[in-house]
Amino acid sequence: MVGMTDQAAHAAPVARLDDVHLSFAGVKAVNGVSFEVRPSELFAIIGPNGAGKTSLFNVLSGVYRPQQGSVEFMGESILGRRPHRIAAMGMARTFQNIALFEHLTVLDNLMLGRHQHITYGFLQAFAWVGTARRQEVEHRQAVEEIVDFLELAQWRSMPVGLLPYGVQKRVELGRALAMEPKLLLLDEPVAGMNQEETEDTARFVLDIRDELDVPIIMVEHDMGLVMDLADRVLVVDFGTPIVTGTPDEVQRHPDVVRAYLGSEVGS
């Protein structure tokens, strides 16, 4: 179990939510959630289905605008900012229901992750000379590194629509990494994966955190994974935060057991 260093705990947070409220036509999806994510931290959010975890991600990435509360990323308020601007600031995510571009190849999907880092315009694209050509080659190299890192080489030029589920999830992870994120949001990264693939993904997540030093927020129902990997865990139920703490603290919290874990307390 890797504890957080004192230094990390006191450094400026990468992202901070303060008393966020979000409701849809009568449904309170998020109800007064506050938390902050510190550099290099792997922060997990768990909670029953419909608790508002994905909604929190959507608030962070600008898809939903909360009715109340503040949202900061890299020290700036991002409330009301369009998703593409927030993404450009360095927030990358994966999606609960895979959201890849099916018709495109793995490489093209990853290249799309690099969209913001490629700068040539459409006029140069027509002629395909100079900057356009140079940048394409350059960024292609960066993408190949991710392909190697995530062991995607054998699928690199296949349209992602035909890949096995587990591989698609990995491509999505790669696409997020291609954005060179300053914060990575993972929404149920191992849902629907078998044991073997779950173990692979766990390894990748740790590597990302350790080698690339990217802070991560992860939503996941696989308690084994959460408890093994997370530095801190936030538990939400009906949009309301129940407890934030280390996996051990959280696991023993009676409300958490009752609302979320049921009898199957993590091993």
Binding site: T54, N58, V63, F95, Q96, N97, A99
Partner: protein, 303 residues
Amino acid sequence: MTQFLEVVLRGLGSGSIYALLALGFVIIYKSTGVISFAQPAMMLTGATITSYVGPALGVMLFTGFSFFVSVAVAALLTAVLALVIERGAIRPMVGRPAFVVAIITIGIDIVVRVVTSGFIGLGARNIPNPWGLERVELAGLRVQERHLVSLATLALVVAVLFWFYRYTRHGLAMRAAAFDQEAALTQGVSVGSVFALSWAMAGALAAVAGSLLAISAGVDRQIWIVALVALPAIILGGLDSLEGAVVGGLAVGVVEALVGTYQRDYAPWLGDNFAVVSPYVLMLLVLLAKPYGIFGTPEVRRV
């Protein structure tokens, strides 16, 4: 004021025909997710059939009665034609992109229209009916009888459709089939029958609309163009909404009549014939405020 009200009534009259056409489009859209560009041809064919059946009956029955009987026969035959087309050219396309199917319907439209035009001949074919251009006085307003007939027909059709969608299981099944054919199949919904049923209903409606339209000046080769006016009507009402089709159709009729009557006096700079494009302008204005039309279901978008 009287004139204004008379214009509005006239607009409602032609609007009720647009509404019937719009209902046909919406029914097909609601259950298959496709806009059928073959509807104009269905309308032309339906009206043509009425123009053949009507005179055949005319000698035997009162004109008012024989009109409705001939329209019913035409609706039935057009529904059968629609079924044949659905079976032959639409059913095999289940699961294919909606726009490919839409282009197929355009091809069908061409074929059916050319064949039907052959039966229309060069001039216009008359549909025997007792109303013609006669008018009645209603509360001091002069209204054409044919417009009252159209409105009454619309009311009847709306009542039947409301019942159908509300109280039979087919209504929901049709919507389900449009959203996700595979999932609908696993519910035990026969997607094939849903397709067939919706095409038949739309065909019958087009036949009714075409026959009503032809009361005033008969069936000629070009009346199919009127069916296109239903397109802005369904969009401004909401593509998948029956209420929307009715409201949209009537709104388009009224706006067209008002613009036709007053625009020359108040806004001549819009050019002669602005009335013809006014439905589209109305549609644009509505969409600026409501991107899914007045009653349309917004597409569910989430990640």
